[in-house]
Amino acid sequence: MSDSWQSSNIKPLTEWVNLQQPPTYSEYCQHGGYQGAKHAVLEHTPNEVLEIVKNSGLKGRGGAGFPTGMKWSFVPMFAEDDENAPGNKYLVANADEMEPGTFKDRLLLEGIPHQLVEAMIIAGYTIGANKAYIFLRGEYHLAAKRLQQAIDEAYQENWLGEKIQGSKYSLDLYVHCSAGRYICGEETALINALEGKRANPRAKPPFPQVVGLFGKPTIVNNVETLSNLPHILKNGIEWFQAIAPNSDAGSKIYGACGRVKTPGLWELPMGPTLREVLFDYAGGMQDGLNFRGLLPGGASTDFLVAEHLDTPMDYDSIAKVGSRLGTGGLIVLDDKNCPVAMVLNLMRFFAQESCGWCTPCRDGTPWAVEVLTRIEHGKGSIEDLDTLAKLCDFMWIGKTHCALAPGAVEPLRSALKYFHDDFLQHIEQGCCRYDPESSAKRTQVATAGRAVS
């Protein structure tokens, strides 16, 4: 991984990241670690911390961009002497990073695990949770090991366990390794999985803030979101808001993958333009390739093309041009790769990862795969484009049980808009003009995979 993320000025989250040897407890403390937690637990009431987080303007970094403080404020608060209070709430870090093209949380989990532990103490203290879980992507073996080391150290130093640092607050923290489903990124599916049930998203209401894990109020936050907390508590609201004066508050880890010169991750003040991230940080396209388009925040966001490159990468600006900031990880498409094949590849992923609960997602995504496969093979017809358009509408927001299918639709519907000519070409010429042989190979796997059980 490139070291280019270190080239930015203010990068509180990643400043002390060390992927070779993450900071130990004492190293982390030397860099100002656990100061935020100390402020929170020893100097503030939970309500004061909640106000700080609310006023900081921190928004969820998992993709939806919901204000974190507001999310927390839905948790019913109990008086300290309320017998319902202890053990009656849960905090969960959503570390099930399975969005294709996204690997920002991995950097934090592997490179600075103590930061997440500290963050969870702050969040747990604020909402009054005495038990917390890190729901970790199953494939993140190294992160699991390093997190457990950090947790063990934190227990030794009384940052976890009974009466943290002499306060009245106690917290137990567990790492739970996921069995591996994309849908577990959806917080209620995650909760079901954590309870040992099928990972289907739950009906809402009730929202997990009120009825969550094991029926108790539960907050699920993304790893990156949580990681901001120690710094906000340590440095204050003004500092946090000053990081990105013209945009959403704070910094954000942006990333890029695809055929760019230097794929990687960069923590930047909120709101660099797509062009800056793509050309200044990712180094632009590899030699001999031209930019076609990109998915701005992981696989489940709409394509953006050249005309959008000057859009700032914050929640509102990206939404205005018809996509989502998502995770902030660019997936870049060049002019030598087939957009149809790319969309097919993504759709296959979503069809595979559908939980199977609601009809549009369960039966719609495989249908889209079937149509896209035929088009990619040069066996499509012009009516198939109508079918795809209909399927996009069929799986759109409001028609499905959760956001997976609408997310799956986003790259497809935008591809149909921006790469219409490519779809037409496949249909009219009966082949893929990019690399017919390799594309045929790729899709063969899919066809073979369909004849199952």
Partner: protein, 1021 residues
């Protein structure tokens, strides 16, 4: 159509105003208006989960909003003034797409699918307008599972609506079924092949919107729904009285489907009710008359009977009725033989229990199943209702969810949001307490479930009664807090766990708003019932605790009907034998000519007693539908109609008299019991007490019963009863007690009879096309509310629907079109008819308990509690505990090898381990004070919470083995185990062979259809 509901509001559907209740969701509201809106995952009694997305409608902000947004009707609450559109293009196109997407994997194998023609998926597909297939890909396929003899599995048809698992696991508490896989490869089934363990597995057939789960027996001898001849019926297998729709074709019963009754079974049946109908077609059926010579080679006539019985003219018989024969047949028998010669086949123990039961019935109205489902506290004592009244156990399970529903409601989630309520509820359940002698399938949801012999149950109830009579609940609570477990009556008599149980029950009762107490007569223990009676009376005191609804479940479909006919002169079997032996040498005129036994197998009688009965009865006349030990011994055997072949009434556990209607005429000489009795009455006459009637007897033969001063006339009838209605009129004319039993004797009779067949039934010309294309005449029947025809009044006109069907709704879910509102009463519904149970039986001191226990200490046989002696209790079984259902070959194939449950203390003492094969020798002193013993080879199961004085198992123990029972357990020899298992395997193979033989015969019979021109008595042939 408007709903008269205080919570109804006006909503606009496609700009038309409708009155819709806010208590249910929008989909239920729309369907309540009889508007068509397709759905799959929603079920009227299982609520909404929003999985299938089929019921989408467009909701508008206000009248200016032209665009609207799509909402799923099933997850949308009804609000005042809301505006929605069903017809709106966006919504209807989306609904079509949903079907199109589901159909991408559906195999379109409708011609070979048992669901064809009554498939909810077909109906909904047509409803959405989806008619052309666009998907060009391959379909996913699955491997099916063997789910036992009752339910078939064809997973390729699955559209993944999740209803099966929501019913089986969530609603019915099944553990051996589930959801596997993900994406479009979701699999519904078991972990491995094997028979489904739930008592409610058959409901999968109706719950599944397509043909994934099918009724195996129906599929094996299949006909389309539209070719079935159906009639409204009542289950003949337990005392709940679930309403059924039985379907027949070509003279054989094909299947049982649920018939909606909102107060009893709702939408669901148990497997005994659904599949136990197999006995009607079985090999064991009696099809010939025995002991009556026939003049005509073609058929038996009433003259033949008259001739055969003529020498019995006005002679005295003892009549033994039964709890499975219709109310009419029992009543008729009682009045042919006279009440002093009438028995319902109960032994002394059962009579004593019946006397208590009759008294308990005086305490107030018995709650129905719908009321049980609203309960917030349930105590079950001494009855495994999961096996003996399974449908009730399903209702109890629903009641336990009330705590979760209340919690959900407190945060604004309505009860119909099923998945949300289950998320909120988690493991929270309303309290269920259970005292039983065997472990039951409700133990997993009970707050406390104790196992104990029946005597200890009485002690626990007595302790509870004492707590209740201590005063107001505040006083007692204080008492419990201060002197917890200090009460002598608690400490001396009860173990610690029993004390905790009693106090927990008391505290639960204090908090309960709608408590229920459920018990039954399976343990045949009058003392237990008496303890319940005393307990119930203690609620009458002003102690601030709500009196529980009391439910007593007897074993049979007409047990309460039989109870209603018992009076202080009724006889027990022991008394019958005594009376017969006493009369043997007496003067001829008073001599008892013999015994008439009505649909009674006398299962509780020992072989000894049966032989005695045979020896003492000069003439033994047996009326039954199936072979049993009595039919082999009888002089005259008259084959009677099974439930689907005749008309009559059963009285359920509440005292609710329900009519079952003839589905198809039986093949003569089989006829309904009451017709046989009518033939017999023509000869023997009918006894009428003088005060009881103002009707001038036609021919008198007055006799004075020597022992009492009531004059009893024996009258002869002037004509035979041609129909049930005529029989009722005859009864009403002579017996003032009859109209009280069946109040509205001709409520349904009108000149617009309803068709038993669907209007699509394959034409009569084609029915026998293999024989002749001549159109046969339809069977005629007098005073019939239904016709053996496809012509007749629409089922819309009747409260007793022979089957459910509505335009566009071919599946059983058509019922929604006939409900006042979803889950409400039927639009055409008649009032339930409850019969009064008299406590006369208890007037007979012989059956009074009070003095019995104290004075009879030296007499052995029943009631006494013998401390520290061993009790064996046979586990009840949904398949085998009811005699008729147990005749079904499919059930016989579900037989299990012997199992005996013993306590860990006993296991340690005898050195046996759980699951070990053992030889168990039971020994006891019998009625004649002789030592008797029985040896059982079986697997021993060790239970930690079982008292050492109690053992239970799945095998019967000889009737005589009750007093001072002892048990010796040793490890079984390998050969003994092999012998037992090979016997067991032989039984299962025999059952399988019998199943195949029945099927072969039925298919043969289809080629020679019996057509009766008139369905009536023998002379109507």
């Amino acid at each position: 159509m408007s709903v008269s509901n205080k919570n109804s509001v006006t909503i606009f559907i496609d700009d038309q105003p409708y009155q819709v209740s806010t208590e249910d969701n929008l989909l239920a509201g729309v369907l309540s208006q009889k508007l068509n809106l397709p759905y799959f995952c929603w079920h009227p009694s299982m609520g909404s989960v929003g999985a299938c997305r089929q019921c989408a409608v467009t909701q508008f902000q206000d009248e200016n909003d032209q665009r609207g947004r799509l909402v799923m009707a099933c997850t949308t609450p009804v609000t005042d003034g809301m505006r929605i559109s069903i017809k709106n293009a966006h919504a209807s196109e989306f609904r079509e797409q949903v079907i199109a997407a589901m159909m991408t994997n559906h195999p379109h194998d409708c011609p070979v699918c048992a669901e064809g023609g009554e498939c909810h998926l077909q109906d909904m597909t047509v409803m959405t307008g989806h008619s052309a297939r666009e998907y060009q890909g391959t379909k996913r396929t699955f491997t099916n599972q063997y789910l036992g003899e009752l339910v078939g599995h064809e997973m390729n048809r699955c559209i993944t609506c999740y209803r099966c698992t929501r019913f089986y696991n969530d609603y019915a508490g099944g553990k051996d079924f589930g959801v596997y896989g993900s994406k479009n490869q979701v699999y519904f089934g078991r972990q491995t092949d094997g028979a489904l363990e739930s008592e409610f597995s058959g409901n999968l057939v109706e719950v599944c919107p397509t043909g994934v789960f099918t009724n195996k027996a129906f599929s094996a001898h299949y006909t389309r729904k539209w070719d079935l001849q159906s009639a409204p019926s009542v289950c003949s297998h337990c005392s709940v009285g679930c309403n059924l729709s039985i379907g027949e074709r070509y003279g054989s019963v094909r299947r049982v489907m649920n018939r909606y009754n909102p107060e009893l079974n709702g939408y669901f049946l148990c497997d005994r009710g659904r599949f136990g109908i197999g006995y009607v077609n079985g090999e064991q059926r009696l099809r010939k008359v025995k002991g009556i010579s026939q003049q005509s080679p073609v058929q038996l006539s009433t003259l033949d009977i008259a001739k055969a019985l003529s020498h019995f003219r006005l002679k005295n018989f003892i009549g033994i009725g039964s709890a499975r024969a219709s109310l009419e047949a029992n009543f008729y028998l009682k009045n042919i033989v006279g009440n002093r010669n009438f028995s319902v086949g109960y032994n002394d123990c059962e009579m004593q229990a019946a006397a208590q039961h009759a008294q308990l019935m005086q305490l107030g109205r018995t709650p129905n199943l719908a009321e049980i489902e609203t309960s917030d506290f349930i105590l079950i004592v001494g009855e495994d209702i999961t096996q003996t009244a399974a449908r009730m156990a399903l209702s109890v399970r629903q009641a336990l969810r009330n705590a979760a529903i209340a919690k959900a409601s407190s945060i604004g989630i309505p009860s119909w949001q099923d998945s949300a309520v289950r998320t909120i509820g988690g493991t929270l359940l309303s309290p269920l307490f259970s005292l039983n002698s065997t472990k039951t399938k409700l133990d997993d949801v009970a707050e406390q479930a104790l196992l104990m012999p029946v005597e200890r149950m009485s002690l626990c109830l007595q302790a509870l009664e004492k707590l209740l009579s201590l005063g107001s609940k505040e006083t007692v609570e204080k008492h419990i807090n201060q002197h917890f477990l200090q009460e002598p009556f608690l400490q001396e008599q009860l173990s610690t766990s029993e004390q905790h149980f009693v106090i927990a029950v008391y505290q639960g009762l204090c908090r309960a708003n709608k408590p229920m107490l459920v018990s039954g007569t399976s343990l045949v223990n009058a003392e237990l019932l008496e303890s319940i009676a005393k307990l119930m009376l203690s609620f009458k005191q002003d102690n601030g605790i709500t009196e529980p609804g009391l439910i007593i479940t007897p074993p049979c479909s007409n047990s309460v009907g039989a109870l209603s006919l018992l009076d202080e002169h009724s006889l027990s079997i022991e008394q019958v034998l005594t009376k017969l032996s006493e009369q043997v040498d007496k003067e001829k005129s008073l001599k008892l000519q013999g015994v008439i036994i009505l649909e009674q197998e006398l299962a509780k009688c020992s072989e000894n007693q049966i032989q005695q009965l045979r020896a003492l009865a000069e003439t033994l006349i047996v009326l039954d539908h199936s072979e049993n030990r009595l039919t082999k011994l009888a002089d005259i055997v008259l084959p009677v109609a099974a439930v689907s072949e005749g008309d009559g009434h059963y009285v359920n556990y509440q005292g609710r008299a329900q009519k079952f209607t003839q589905v198809h005429p039986p093949v003569l000489p089989i006829q309904e019991s009451w017709r046989w009795l009518d033939n017999i009455a023509d000869i023997l006459g009918v006894k009428v007490s003088v005060e009881g009637t103002s009707v001038e007897p036609l021919r008198e033969n007055d006799k004075l019963d020597a022992s009492v001063n009531i004059k009893v006339n024996t009258i002869t009838k002037n004509s035979s009863c041609q129909s049930l209605l005529q029989l009722h009129q005859f009864f009403a004319q002579h017996y003032p007690s009859w109209p009280e039993l069946i109040a509205d004797i001709d409520s349904e009779s009108n000149d617009r009879a309803t068709a038993r067949m669907s209007h699509r039934a394959s034409g009569r010309t084609s029915q026998m096309a293999n024989i002749s294309v001549h159109e046969s005449k339809t069977t005629q029947k007098s005073d019939d509310d239904f016709r053996f025809s496809m012509e007749g009044a629409s089922i819309r006109q009747t409260s007793n629907m022979p089957f459910a069907w509505a335009p566009g709704w071919n599946s059983n879910q058509a019922i929604g079109q006939y409900q006042e509102h979803i889950n409400g009463p039927l639009i055409q519904h008649s009032q339930a008819n409850f019969i009064a149970i008299s406590a006369d039986l208890a007037n007979n001191t012989h059956w009074q308990l009070v003095n019995k226990v104290a004075s009879d200490s030296d007499k052995i046989g029943y009631s006494e509690s013998v401390p520290n002696s061993l009790s064996y209790v046979q586990q009840q079984s949904i398949y085998f505990s009811e005699w008729q259902a147990a005749l079904t070959p499919e059930f016989k194939m579900l037989k299990q090898s012997n199992q005996l449950f013993i306590s860990n203390v006993t296991a340690e003492k005898t050195g046996v381990k759980s699951r070990q094969w053992c030889k168990v020798v039971f020994s006891a002193t019998n009625e004649q004070k002789q030592l008797v013993s029985q040896t059982v080879i079986g697997q021993v199961m060790v239970l930690a919470n079982l008292p050492p004085s109690l053992v239970f198992g799945n095998f019967p123990l000889c009737q005589s083995l009750t007093y001072q029972l002892e048990m010796k357990i040793t490890a079984a020899e390998a050969q003994e185990k092999t012998d037992h298992l090979s016997q067991f395997n032989d039984d299962v193979l025999a059952a399988k062979a019998s199943k195949e033989a029945v099927l072969e015969r039925l298919k043969e019979n289809d080629q020679t259809i019996p057509i009766r021109l008139v369905s009536g008595g023998l002379n109507d042939a």
